[in-house]
Symmetry: C2
Subunit: 197 residues, 2 copies
């Protein structure tokens, strides 16, 4: 087994370059947006050629999807982690909201998940992506908190959608420079009012 330079298995190589491409792509997508980021730029940042990119990803959109998917997964992980302590339904919702804002404070996330994502992949696919990951948490939380209201399931579901839209808008505004405290307060008040008896 010769060594010296870099003796790696194919699997390791593959994983490493895939990750490197995704990483570089994320940075550029964040800085310039999906449309204005060219594949030559991406691979140049990694020190590869476009051949490598198109070997690992079907096309530019597939690469974007990989970036989005990783991002959504991380957000979901942070939120679920916050729900770790067993709190009452109300406190759980508030904690989830705070965790969401924390997660979305990571630079670039707002643009990726709330702007370019829906436009490039479509709402349907984006809904699938974060339905699989994040939104179930909110829906379950709201269902628990609103149980006393005895609403139809689909009504609660709709309310959860609307609430998550409010979360997203708040994240967007905070990202655009608004004070987090203002929106955190508004969100908390919104939740309070929604689940109050």
């Amino acid at each position: 087994m010769q060594q010296g330079k870099t003796r790696r298995s194919n699997q390791e190589r593959s994983d490493a370059t895939r990750a490197a491409i995704i990483e570089a792509a994320r940075a550029l997508f964040v800085a310039k947006g999906y449309a204005d980021t060219a594949t030559p730029e991406i691979v140049a940042a990694v020190g590869l050629t476009r051949g490598a990119l198109y070997h690992h990803f079907a096309d530019k959109k597939a690469l974007f999807r990989a970036v989005i998917d990783r991002e959504a997964r991380e957000v979901a992980a942070l939120i679920e982690q916050s729900a770790g302590e067993n709190l009452g339904p109300h406190e759980a919702l508030l904690a989830g909201a705070a965790a969401y804002f924390d997660a979305m404070a990571v630079p670039g996330r707002v643009r990726l998940l709330l702007l370019d994502g829906p436009a490039v992949l479509g709402v349907t696919e984006m809904a699938l992506i974060d339905a699989a990951h994040g939104r179930r948490t909110l829906e379950e939380g709201l269902t628990a908190a609103m149980a006393p209201h005895r609403l139809e399931e689909k009504a609660v579901k709709a309310m959860a959608f609307l609430l998550s839209a409010a979360f997203d808008r708040a994240a967007l505004e905070i990202d655009a420079g608004a004070a987090r405290a203002d929106y955190a307060y508004a969100i908390d008040r919104l939740i309070d009012r929604l689940i109050a008896p």
Copy 2:
């Protein structure tokens, strides 16, 4: 003054082709999205060449902006029109919500104003566009309806943002096939709870 064919002033010609280009562009942007719509397609639909397009618009994005601007103006007009009757603050909000859903039911509007618009022009510019037109109505309505709550102005403003986000999400879901009744109910309930004493 010879006639027969088409004797038009330069101004008329200009306005007509501008409108025709915007119209054709709108149809294609709706059908295929901004990125997947090529300028050759657009002008072909009108029976012109790209020279005409680039004579009237600085670039493709400027044409898109013109489309968006017209669309936003129409939505705002419909909403303000609905606020015509002098109702109480609560009823005015509900009427405004219904008018918004009506306005956004026009095919393509959701995609233009809520998906491609923010992604292509950026949130900042989109915010300017419909702050100039539509959102002031909602903000004033909510301010009036929540006056008894004696909130700070910035808190009300934040709530208005969140509420408009809920409107947008509802329009998105309805556009994607959800039942309007479900979301109309959820929105009404949301408004009720927000402004209830």
